[in-house]
């Protein structure tokens, strides 16, 4: 094995394979190292028959392998054929475990002991990482497997599933789903409670255990695997059980360590950070390149194009026109001035502060997600109370912020180079002020996810945004004509704090006059009355707390603690009081706020004497709702079970207004004091579902709706990420006959979600549709609002924002 390859490519996913195919086509000496015994393991492991999507559709594919949307099997077969035809030199079962050496002379050590020598290395190992292996004796026997493609494939077997995370539980449940298969399934987990898994999964698991359909063993580990048997170490001692097959789903180790050990630096410590890359995909270790999902580009098309491009770069190309050129051209076409794409990129980069640190490659990627827009003096860029979570950067001209809703004449200018719209970015809440172009101007609009990615990748951008947002958020909250200059004394002393759920930021009776600004998350205010903590009110993000002690002195009158993980800014009392002295207007404003908060407190306390039980009820309902995650909701469906007649008209209306699939499950979910929180999206302030959506398909609508656009590729990430289990993967059923046809002639299944039987009887649609993520969109764009609420005949179902519900209204409910 003394051959030195020009390029060694590690990982045969879409990016690595495409690189290898291009190298082969160019006759460059190369080797493609693949850990498994087949190409492209990530896609290989998609569910059987999964519809693979090819987004963004505008992007031209530039690769020696073909790729079009279609079934997983078709895509894989195509790639196998392409690899063969191109003459790719692939080595299977070649898992790289360490990379040493320097440019021109790398050694890649494989786990099987071989060493591969290469001048350059392309890392295309994706982000899936390595599954944690069965470490006990016999763990390498062939009946130990780490994936489960098709639970229906196993019949009459004794199967032991290791791992109590979602993957393990879902696999185990899949294996017993059909009684007829006759599998005896045991689920084994190392820990006592299934803390890592989703609630619904744990419930289903425990139910399967209680009804005797599955054996569940916690605090248990394997000590020996033999053919037909496995020995388990339980808290009660060792036990040898029958076992024909082991499915190990014990999580996976992310590939970061392996990458870092090769001398490659990441952009930050954050779990979501990517390796630092040059415009040609080169890492901080010269000669090692990173492409594909590992480089932060999870879409297959991007991956394949990069595979092509990286080989071009390694081969010395410098003037490669990126494949996204036509998209960018189209994007920039309508703008004043006749600049080329490259000139535009440089124009923006050099003028917008948060873009200073970007490389030309990053600029391109960035602009693919963003928009450049020109406004004339006086044009509205966005309006107060409009919803939008995008961030704007001013490349030319300036804008004016109308800080006073009553008098649009009062404005604060924001100059060229700076940003605006950042509050929506941080808290996901609606716009606090109208912004107009002050003069003719050119701005870049950066969608939330793109902005977050930018902040994750470029430290300077992150710091700039954080500095500006804190300042602006404070100005916004206090209004009263404050300017950045007024805050000059206060701000440097401000302290950013992360608060864990339940952790107090101030405690009743304590001394202290600091003011707290809630940047994200939310707080609950409690007071001890008669020895009990009574819920007083709810403070959402974008508000402040602690003003009473600040204004009137004296100890804290209530305890304020985080409802969910929150970020607050602590402003020291002393300098702030000086600010108040200078700005009587601000002081008055805060006094008015204090007065209205006092009223609420007095109301609750007043009730306390007359209706002891009521106040108790009020606080316990409030804490139930907070436990249900209402603290991070912006809009939640609540059903009053003392009104609900169980007609399910809410579900039917939802299905009928949303392609035949209901996005809420009325019965599922928790209930307390007749308030039921059904399984339906809460439109979280910081939606977890948004965090890892490859095509960026999850967005926020004009009324704060979190919805999934047509760009969804059905990867299921959002479903796994949503802690409230409100996303399902499904494909819309065929069109039903109309309502009158059903009423008069009994045609079709009637209102609501059609049942499985009816769906199966319908002719197969001409085009195969893939399963996509389905969730409540808050009836976005529907006049009249949520169909589920409008369809409820009794008034049992309402959608409310938590601060509206957790107010005096709840108190009054208690009395009614």
């Amino acid at each position: 094995m003394s051959e030195v390859f020009r390029i060694a490519i590690v990982g045969s996913g879409p990016s690595g394979l495409s690189a290898a195919a291009h190298a082969a086509a160019k006759g460059i000496s190369h080797v493609l190292l693949e850990k498994t015994d087949h190409l492209s393991d990530t896609i290989f492991r998609y569910q059987k028959g999964k519809h693979v999507m090819a987004t963004p559709s505008l992007l031209v594919l530039r690769s020696d392998c073909d790729f079009a949307a279609g079934k997983r099997e078709t895509v894989l077969a195509q790639w196998n054929a392409d690899a063969e035809k191109a003459g790719v030199n692939v080595r299977y079962k070649a898992e790289a475990k360490a990379i040493t050496g320097a440019k021109g002379d790398f050694s890649i050590a494989l786990t099987n002991g071989d060493v591969i020598k290469a001048e350059t290395v392309v890392l295309a190992i994706g982000t899936q990482g390595n599954p944690n292996l069965m470490r006990c004796e016999g763990g390498d026997l062939p009946h130990v497997q780490y994936t489960l493609d098709d639970p229906a494939a196993y019949i009459d077997e004794h199967i032991v599933v290791f791992g109590g995370g979602d993957a393990g539980i879902e696999n185990a449940l899949g294996l017993i789903a059909d009684q007829a298969q006759g599998n005896a399934v045991t689920l084994v987990d190392r820990n006592a409670d299934f803390a890592r898994a989703k609630d619904a999964n744990v419930k289903a698991l425990l139910q399967a255990r209680d009804t005797g359909r599955m054996t569940v063993m916690s605090e248990t580990q394997a000590s020996l695997v033999e053919v037909g048997w496995v020995t388990l170490e339980t808290p009660q001692g060792a036990s040898r059980v029958k076992c024909d097959r082991i499915i190990a789903r014990m999580g996976s180790a992310p590939p970061r360590k392996f990458v870092e050990d090769a001398g490659i630096a990441f952009t930050s410590e954050a779990r979501t950070a990517f390796p630092q890359l040059s415009p040609t995909f080169e890492t901080t270790a010269p000669g090692i390149y990173v492409i594909g999902a590992l480089a932060g580009y999870p879409l297959i098309k991007h991956c394949m194009n990069q595979g092509h491009d990286v080989v071009e770069y390694i081969n010395g190309a410098t003037d490669l026109k990126p494949a996204d050129e036509p998209i960018l051209e189209a994007k920039l076409a309508g703008l004043p001035g006749k600049l080329s794409v490259t000139q535009w990129l440089e124009f923006l980069r050099a003028r917008v502060e948060i873009l200073y640190g970007l490389s030309p490659l990053q600029m391109r990627e960035f602009l693919l997600d963003s928009d450049v827009r020109a406004f004339h003096a006086g044009d509205v860029i966005f309006e107060r109370n409009g919803v939008g979570t995008s961030l704007f950067g001013i490349a030319q001209g300036s804008v004016k912020v109308e800080i006073d809703p009553k008098n649009p004449k009062i404005t604060v200018p924001i100059p060229q180079g700076s940003i605006f719209g950042e509050v929506g970015l941080i808290s996901g809440r609606r716009r606090g002020a109208t912004v107009r172009a002050g003069e003719d101007c050119i701005v870049v609009e950066i969608p939330r996810t793109a902005a977050l990615k930018l902040m994750a990748q470029v430290a300077e951008a992150r710091e700039t945004v954080n500095r500006i947002t804190t300042e602006r958020q404070i100005l916004q909250i206090f209004k009263s004509g404050l300017t950045p200059a007024d805050l000059a004394e206060v701000l440097p002393m401000a302290e950013m704090m992360e608060v864990k759920p339940g952790q107090p930021i101030m405690t009743e009776g304590d001394e202290g006059d600091d003011l707290f600004i809630i940047r994200s998350g939310s707080m609950v205010v409690e007071k001890s009355v008669g020895g009990k903590q009574v819920f007083l009110s709810y403070v959402p993000a974008g508000s402040y707390s602690g003003e009473m002690a600040l204004l009137d002195g004296g100890p804290r009158t209530a305890t304020v603690k985080a409802a969910i993980r929150s970020q607050v800014v602590r402003l020291p009392g002393e300098p702030f009081r000086r600010l108040l002295a200078k700005k009587p207007e601000l002081a008055n404003r805060m006094r008015a706020e204090v007065a209205s908060r006092r009223k609420v407190n007095a109301f609750v306390e007043g009730r306390k004497d007359n209706f002891r039980g009521v106040a108790d009820m009020y606080s316990s309902v409030a804490s139930f709702l907070i436990d249900q995650g209402i603290g991070e909701a912006t809009d939640v469906l609540l059903i009053d079970e003392s009104l609900c007649v169980g007609c399910d008209n809410c579900e039917k209306a939802c299905a009928d207004s949303h392609e035949g699939l209901s996005r809420l499950n009325r019965e599922a979910g928790k209930t307390y004091a007749k308030i039921h929180v059904p399984t339906s999206c809460r439109h979280c302030e910081h939606p977890y579902c948004m965090t890892d959506c490859p095509p960026n398909a999850i967005q926020r609508g004009p009324d704060g709706e979190v919805f999934i656009s047509d760009a969804c590729i059905g990867c299921g990430n959002c479903q796994r990420n949503c802690p409230y289990d409100v996303i399902q993967m499904d494909k819309p059923p065929p069109e039903k006959p109309g309502l009158l046809a059903w009423m008069l002639f009994g045609m079709g299944p009637g209102p609501g979600e059609p049942d499985k039987d009816w769906r199966e009887k319908q002719p197969k649609e001409a085009v195969e549709k893939g399963k996509v993520a389905i969730k409540c969109d808050m009836c976005i764009g529907k006049a009249g609002g949520p169909a589920c609420v409008r369809a409820c005949p009794t008034g049992a179902a309402i959608r409310v924002s938590p601060e509206e519900f957790l107010s005096v209204a709840l108190m009054e409910r208690g009395q009614g």
């Binding site: 009684q179 005797g212 606090g432 912006t634 079970e641 003392s642 169980g646 609420v789 309402i798 924002s801």
Partner: protein, 289 residues
């Protein structure tokens, strides 16, 4: 709080039942309507005497007929939730109170003339519809609490799954049993009807449940059995008792749901009958004219 109001489109902040909709708006509308109609009736100058044939009679008849048609359209509205700033709750609220006002409107329309004819048939049917509607409102107001208390946080699906799972365990546990005893088990497994027909659901009567009978028959078998057979029987008996509990839970749910729907089986068909009789009434009135 310090932040501007969130959405322009949301008005609610708490639950408000259809009866209290917008501060009893439709109760007020309906009351005013009734008072107006009564005043008109009292002060009318009818010749020879108040009846459906006077000007006011025609007016009230038309008003009544229009109301009835509109009330009937609730059936469509309920199933076609189109876009628009309305809610079914508002419709039901108006339905209930305006429906009740028909008692006054239609009665005064007749001028208190009744006989054995199609006219009075229509009137009678209307009263039946209204009476059943009132029963419905009573159920809607009282039963949801029971429905909620009964199910706690268990869904119907889970209730059925629970019974299904117990069946399987019973099946498993019954494997070692002798032929005769196995027949008892089969009774529970194969003859148990969870919901049953309409009347069963309505009255919630399941005294003759096959599972209960099976438990009864197990008693003597248990007394005789020994050794392995006895162990298995005891296990089966325990499972069947658990199944009885699970069945009772599901059946209570089914029973309450049935009550919440049953009155509609009077309300809706008599609505159709009413519409037919009303048509006959109107046609006949114009024919004899």
């Amino acid at each position: 709080m310090a932040r501007a109001a969130q959405s322009k489109r949301r008005k609610t902040s708490t639950h408000e039942s259809f009866l209290r909709h917008r501060g009893f708006l439709f109760l007020k509308v309906s009351t005013i309507l009734c008072i107006g109609v009564v005043l008109a009736y009292v002060f009318q100058d009818a010749h020879p005497r108040p009846s459906g044939g006077t000007a006011l009679g025609y007016a009230l008849g038309t008003l009544g007929a229009l109301l009835i048609v509109w009330l009937g359209l609730l059936g469509l509205r309920k199933r076609a939730i189109t876009d628009g700033p309305y809610s079914l709750k508002a419709w039901v609220s108006a339905h209930v109170y305006l429906g009740l006002s028909l008692i006054v409107i239609a009665t005064l329309h007749t001028g208190f003339h009744f006989g054995w004819n199609v006219h009075t048939l229509a009137y009678g049917l209307m009263l039946l519809v209204i009476a059943s509607g009132a029963v419905g409102v009573w159920f809607y107001a009282t039963l949801p609490k029971a429905l909620s208390d009964n199910r706690g946080e268990t869904t119907r699906k889970q209730m059925l799954a629970q019974i299904h799972a117990l069946d399987e365990q019973i099946h498993e546990a019954a494997q070692p049993l002798a032929r005769v005893d196995a027949d008892i088990v089969r009774l529970s497994l194969e003859k148990t009807d969870i919901g049953g027909g309409f009347w069963r659901r309505l009255f919630g009567y399941y005294g003759d449940c096959a599972n209960l009978r099976a438990i009864d028959q197990l008693e003597p078998a248990l007394a005789d059995a020994k050794g392995r057979e006895a162990v298995a029987l005891r296990k089966v008996e325990e499972l069947m008792r658990r199944k009885a509990d699970a069945l009772a839970l599901a059946r209570r749910q089914i029973h309450i749901t049935a009550l919440l729907e049953a009155w509609l089986f009077v309300h809706v068909p008599s609505t159709f009958a009413l519409l037919a009789a009303l048509t006959a009434h109107i046609v006949s009135v114009f024919l004899y004219w």
